[in-house]
């Protein structure tokens, strides 16, 4: 099926109008030397019935959370996605539209983006949010670039407790502009503020702090932001949006730019993408924020409407002087986030955060009671924590998988010193029964 509707007779008529005799003549501008002469090595075309079978076969080769209890986190979490949300983002008026270049024909998505931007400011305690970025890692890299544009310094300090893949992306991005990335070591799972002081100098553009960090632990946001400010540097916070249901927002403790992965806000797991990158900042930095912004205005009759605004920052006008190269963003994921926060509201988000907090602590306590197991870091955490175990993580996870449980992340993968350490995440979706079962399997090893 090629989804085109022109019949052979219509094609003939159209060619006649153009003054050509064959479809081949349409491609006469392609030099003979590069015209494709042989056929492509592609799989054979499938009917819809065959396609469904083919893709279901592939899906069946995967072990999904429909059949397994998931305790994996590490930046992507198994949070609940309400049915109403799935239904709404499935409306083709939203998902089959383009970027709203023509505002009068795109008021739906523009107002939704304006609402999304507002939600992000309310959640983070910041004043400006853009219309979205790709994911948490690229949002962080964009924030680093933004800081460099603001204060023209060339070094970025990042906590070692940041997501290792975020650090990797930062490294790749910063290399392009010959900027320096320095990593502040942690002490027992948390940024060492004494070390941070040693790293601060007049070249430091920004300090990046995760809150909570990759190990689930809460960092010293206020002290870090204050140290950065005294050094004339900015503070960039990378946050878990669900935690903001109960945790003080970065705007309150002194961050200048806030970024994060918004996958938890209604996007689902999707094997890692698409999720949502969000970025927000204080008002004074608005003109330095990358990507698109929806703004409120009026029409000729005084009626309120929304448009893409401050486009003079963007690449289709500024070209090489643009604040970033972002064109397509993650608008539909941003819409999902707005709908998610509308459905949950004040009480739903708070309760979701509390459920994560409570259940994660229950699991951590139960595991710590098993001989040989202990909590690696004795510090306050949110929904994720590290346990050290008497067994290799791979062995534990094999056993768990046999019991229909997908266990935690083997930390040795990112931190070779953390042998037999597992990062476990618990969301509001996990039940006491599932948690108790995990504990039982660990005991049986």
């Amino acid at each position: 099926m090629d989804y085109s509707g022109n019949t052979p007779l219509q094609q003939k008529k159209m060619l006649a109008e153009i003054g050509l005799r064959s479809l081949d003549e349409l491609f006469q501008s392609i030099p003979e030397g590069v015209k494709l002469k042989s056929s492509l090595n592609l799989p054979k075309q499938l009917s819809e019935i065959e396609l469904v079978r083919e893709l279901k076969d592939l899906a069946d080769k995967n072990k999904s959370t429909s059949d397994y209890s998931l305790f994996l986190g590490g930046g992507y979490y198994d949070h609940f996605v309400p049915s109403a949300l799935k239904y709404l983002i499935g409306r083709p008026e939203f998902y089959t539209a383009y970027t709203p270049y023509q505002a009068e024909a795109s008021q739906g998505i523009l107002q939704a983006i304006y609402e999304y931007q507002t939600f992000i400011t309310l959640l983070t305690g910041m004043e400006v949010s853009n219309a979205s970025l790709y994911d948490g890692a690229t949002a962080l890299a964009e924030a680093a670039f933004m800081a460099v544009r603001i204060n023209k310094r060339n070094t970025i300090l990042a906590a070692q407790t940041l997501h290792p893949e975020y650090l990797a992306v930062l490294k790749t991005y910063l290399a392009g502009l010959d900027l320096t990335l320095r990593v502040i070591p942690h002490n027992e799972g948390k940024v060492d503020l004494k070390e941070l002081k040693n790293y601060l100098n007049k070249d430091v553009s920004a300090v990046i702090l995760p809150q909570p960090n990759f190990f689930g632990i809460f960092e010293e946001g206020e002290k870090t932001a204050s140290l950065a400010r005294k050094n004339g540097s900015l503070c960039i916070a990378s946050v878990d949006p669900i935690s903001l249901g109960i945790i003080s927002p970065p705007g309150k403790w002194g961050a200048d730019i806030v970024v994060g992965e918004g996958q938890a806000l209604g996007s689902g797991l999707n094997f890692g993408g698409p999720g949502l990158g969000f970025i927000a900042c204080r008002m004074e930095f608005m003109r330095k924020i990358p990507g698109r912004l929806a703004g409120k205005t009026r029409d000729e009759r005084g009626k309120t409407g929304y448009v893409l605004t401050l486009q003079t920052r963007e690449q289709h006008i500024r070209r090489e002087k643009a604040t970033s190269n972002i064109c397509s963003n993650h608008a539909l994921s941003a819409l999902a986030a707005a709908i998610y926060l509308s459905l949950l509201g004040k009480n739903g988000l708070r309760k979701t955060a509390e459920l994560c907090l409570g259940k994660a602590h229950y699991l951590s306590e139960k595991i710590a009671e098993i001989p040989g197991y202990e909590l690696k870091f004795q510090k306050p955490f949110f929904k994720e924590f590290v346990i050290s175990s008497p067994h290799p993580v791979s062995k534990i996870n094999r056993k768990l998988l046999e019991n229909k449980i997908i266990g935690g992340l083997d930390l040795e993968r990112f931190y070779p010193v953390f042998k037999n350490c597992m990062l476990l995440a618990v969301t509001e979706k996990r039940t006491k029964e599932e948690i108790d079962k995990l504990v039982k399997v660990l005991k049986s090893l």
Binding site: L42, K61, Y95, T96, A175, G272, E300, K432
Partner: protein, 481 residues
Amino acid sequence: MSKLIFEKGACGRNGISLPEMDVPFQGVGGLIPKNLLRKELPLPELSEPEVVRHYTNLSKLNFSVDGNFYPLGSCTMKYNPKINEELAALPGFTQLHPYQGEESVQGALELMYNLEKNLSEIVGMERMTLQPAAGAHGELTGILMLRAFFKDKGESRKKIIIPDASHGTNPASAVLGGFEIVEVATDNSGGIDIEALKKVMNEEAACLMLTNPSTLGLFEENILEVSSIVHKAGGLLYGDGANLNALLGKARFGDMGFDLVHLNLHKTFAAPHGGGGPGGGPLGVKKQLIPYLPVPLVDRQGGRFFLNYDLPGSIGRMRSFYGNFLVMLKAYVYILSLGEEGLRKAAENAVLNANYLRAKLKDYYELPYKKICLHEVIFSGSRQKAKGVRTLDIAKRLIDFGMHPPTIYFPLNVPEALMIEPTETETKETLDYFIEIMKRIAGEAEENPQLLHQAPHNAPVGRLDEAKAAREIDVAWQASG
């Protein structure tokens, strides 16, 4: 406009049902230090029906491919098949965590492996990264790779050559990769100015970023000469594959001499645009650039698929995890639905449709390049401008007839540009209606310019004041305001 979601709802309303805490819980205060606790959470409180009605009504204010002809040039707004959406919603794909053990995600990895193979075959490249989340992200990936490539060769090439008709993302990405931009002009026939290229393509230039077919809807007829000039000077040829739709099954970037090319899954391969994303911008490369690809790649050992991180020369990571998996899935389903024959037919009908519009409208609007075009046709509103009607007015008037305007004022080298890309999924009947309306608007420009200046007349809002939006910035609702 409809009220904002923040102006709706009432204290105590709830749009979600969550389970009760089923484990012993000492309360938030017992687990989190007091100074970390949030005092206020200023979110609205709404019922589920309220939320559903609010966003359903918002959706009705949007033009979309399902509801409207949407000939946005360079955006390839083709139909998004429903089977793709249905299959992308299978729990076996949506409910997978990216850190699950490879043995538990073999189906997902196999899909990515196959998609990479298929896309590489379609454009004639050796390997491809599926990681980039959008076209511009693919561009940046390519730029960082060629920077690493020249660094390894010990060559200091600081410039990237970009034609004046290129997408704005090209220069923006090149600058983020640490390069300076050298612009080359377009010649009278719509191709790159060969003599100008020869002058700037030297040992300081790392690459030429070329869109083919160009943003003028034209194939770069001197492509082999261009490729030879670039390569003789030791540079690389980068392809912006945004307009690949015209070439499916007809010609391949690899065969034209391109060393690397990015594609847009949300354009050519029918993944939806989602009102601005998420998209997918895979980047394909020839052999000498494979060592620099981002990690991980999906590889195969016997019957087993795995994530390969063992690439010592890699530029590193371009994002977290592996890319926009569900977008990849839709592109894969699209390729399987069409097969080679269907892809070729898609290109043929896309080009036929664009040329049909060209032939039928050329007497009414100025046609800057008077020759057969490929996937899109560029007109100029210069005749109408002489009557005081701008391209913007023409665009807004189209909205009155239920059609999304084409891309306007781009490419920059065509004054008052109207860039029309109908795509293959529109029928002759739709095109005929569009032609009729475009003729009518050309008439209105002569007889009643005022009507166009005030358009749109029956959209949810009249023409919006963009200057006011930029002057009196309001990008977030405030309780007081």
